[in-house]
Symmetry: C2
Subunit: 380 residues, 2 copies
Amino acid sequence: MDEADFPEEEFATRTEKAQRAMAAAGMDALFFTTEPEVRYFTGFRTLFWQSPTRPWFLVVPASGKPVAVIPQIGARLMASTWIDDIRTFSAPHPVDDGIGLLAEVLAPYSAIGVPMGRESALRMPLKDFQSLRDRLSGAEFLDASSLVQGLRMVKSENEIAQLREICRIGSAGFTRAPALFRAGQPLKEVFRAFRIELLTQGADDVPYLVGGAGRDGYGDVISPATDQTLQPGDVLMLDTGATRNGYFCDFDRNYAIGTASEPVKRGHATLVDAVSAAAAIARPGRTCADLYRAMAAGIGQAEGDVGRLGHGLGMQLTEAPSLTGFDETVLKEGMVLTLEPSLTLGPGKMMVHEENIVVRDGEPEFLTSRAGPDIPVIPA
Amino acid sequence: MDEADFPEEEFATRTEKAQRAMAAAGMDALFFTTEPEVRYFTGFRTLFWQSPTRPWFLVVPASGKPVAVIPQIGARLMASTWIDDIRTFSAPHPVDDGIGLLAEVLAPYSAIGVPMGRESALRMPLKDFQSLRDRLSGAEFLDASSLVQGLRMVKSENEIAQLREICRIGSAGFTRAPALFRAGQPLKEVFRAFRIELLTQGADDVPYLVGGAGRDGYGDVISPATDQTLQPGDVLMLDTGATRNGYFCDFDRNYAIGTASEPVKRGHATLVDAVSAAAAIARPGRTCADLYRAMAAGIGQAEGDVGRLGHGLGMQLTEAPSLTGFDETVLKEGMVLTLEPSLTLGPGKMMVHEENIVVRDGEPEFLTSRAGPDIPVIPA
């Protein structure tokens, strides 16, 4: 970057850790096509990934700095990172969007790690990937998902500082709720007002903002805003993934409009208690499944529709690990997690609550300003 | 959606057109994993795609409505669309993130179209895709990229209405530039003020905002905001992809801070003239290469670093086709394009200008309020 998000040592350390893990896994190169992985090893940050036209490639060799194989349009920005070896191709290209160049860079390697497992995607045309494999017929392609997730899920203090700041901004935004939200307001205006508030407080962007409202709960947790108007007696939930310097917060808050019904009051307190139960045992050595079970016991139900009760957080809104009954990932200091218990209050009526923590050697650090057990009431 | 973006006929028409193209291409099903394609055929719109955890699948059969194979968390929202056949799986799942279910749905088909070409990605784990292919060993997987791009690049009047509205909002935002931008302002604040303005004017979101500033041009067109402050004599460029109801604008504006140098004045007028030259020939029957050559002649240079001088626009910031010398796509009424000529004024000094048009039976319709040849000057 013209102004790098982190000092060069951050990227050097990440690369060295990856190279140790590669040696242990018998891989002599890693190959990436996706934004978070390219950014993780280079610091290359741009919204230009919104354009699907051009592929971007990164190779992490067994030793030395990563090698970028990218469209010419990104050369200047990549040159401002710690990366030295930048190979560029003209894109879009009539016949070869970088595959020939990429095959040259990967030619020396025989065991190439590529993320192929849970949560991964391939951000290049399948035909081009097949062509690459054909050109590298002597090389084996191995699944590098757990290797990369294992690195990324433990955050450095540099990363935690970024996450702390965006969570502070999100928390500050929510404190303005009584001034922003009111009965009679369409949800589209609720969302718009909150986005503007987050930007005003210092967020760079608000790539994720979902929510819902209804009496005794809302229908789901993934819907965009509609023209539905807030009614007295509704419970309103907003769940935000705002970013600063490319790092996300991901948490929500619930508000009662005018009055809170007894089920909503009890539900809110139960969800906050469930977060406390998970935080009470969130220590290095415990597992994601332990946290899941602590929350599931508190809310008195099994996994339900949401499928998990929290997840990793960082350069993406959701990252590994998952707080599910089957994720036996052992917690380590520096992991940043969301604790996200949910409740069903009736058919089509749910409530969800979410906080963001850092696993520490002792009590976890809350990055979010915790919600209390009493649901806040916004005068109608 | 609780409030659908379009009437059901929009999706029925898209599906029928796809099915005619499938018959012509010898495909008996289409298979999709990516947001724009799932939304194109269903209307399913959510920011939840920000989370990489869960895959989402859609199958378009040779006849009848598409079939959604999706995580349980999306069932309620998908049920609010025109889709009837919704198969859900629990995700994340310890061993099967929907592949068993998906293989059942695809089992009847023998020639399955999947986007595998230019601009495509596979938004599911490669290991799962391989497992799917193994289970469907009797089926052939064919590249459906050009089929789907051919459909999507011609917009319906419903889509054009959405694009017209977000381009109107973007244009309205830019008219406020003199009140928003000033010498001494850090670029981060320039970007923040403009994002807030776009939201205030009615944008739902601003997923893309890039820009730059400098004397006699800026360094590139993909960088995020920095703490660099606007100086008298700078030319400032902001390029925005704002959205409303899931459709993008994509255009930029240039401003001189205080005074404009002669090269900047000439550059701006040349770029606006290049847009006029392309618009003058943008008619059904002409090609993308024709538009490219009209602009390239005007700016007196070849493709350069940017690699193309415009592209399709719709549910994504950039879509097929590409305005390059090698894209022989024939223009059709209803195509929405960006015209995006650029100039190099010196080493590390460029200027770019962009407008959005609809190809019509006659003169194109400008969706953006066109910039005039004189670069606007913001008093320093």
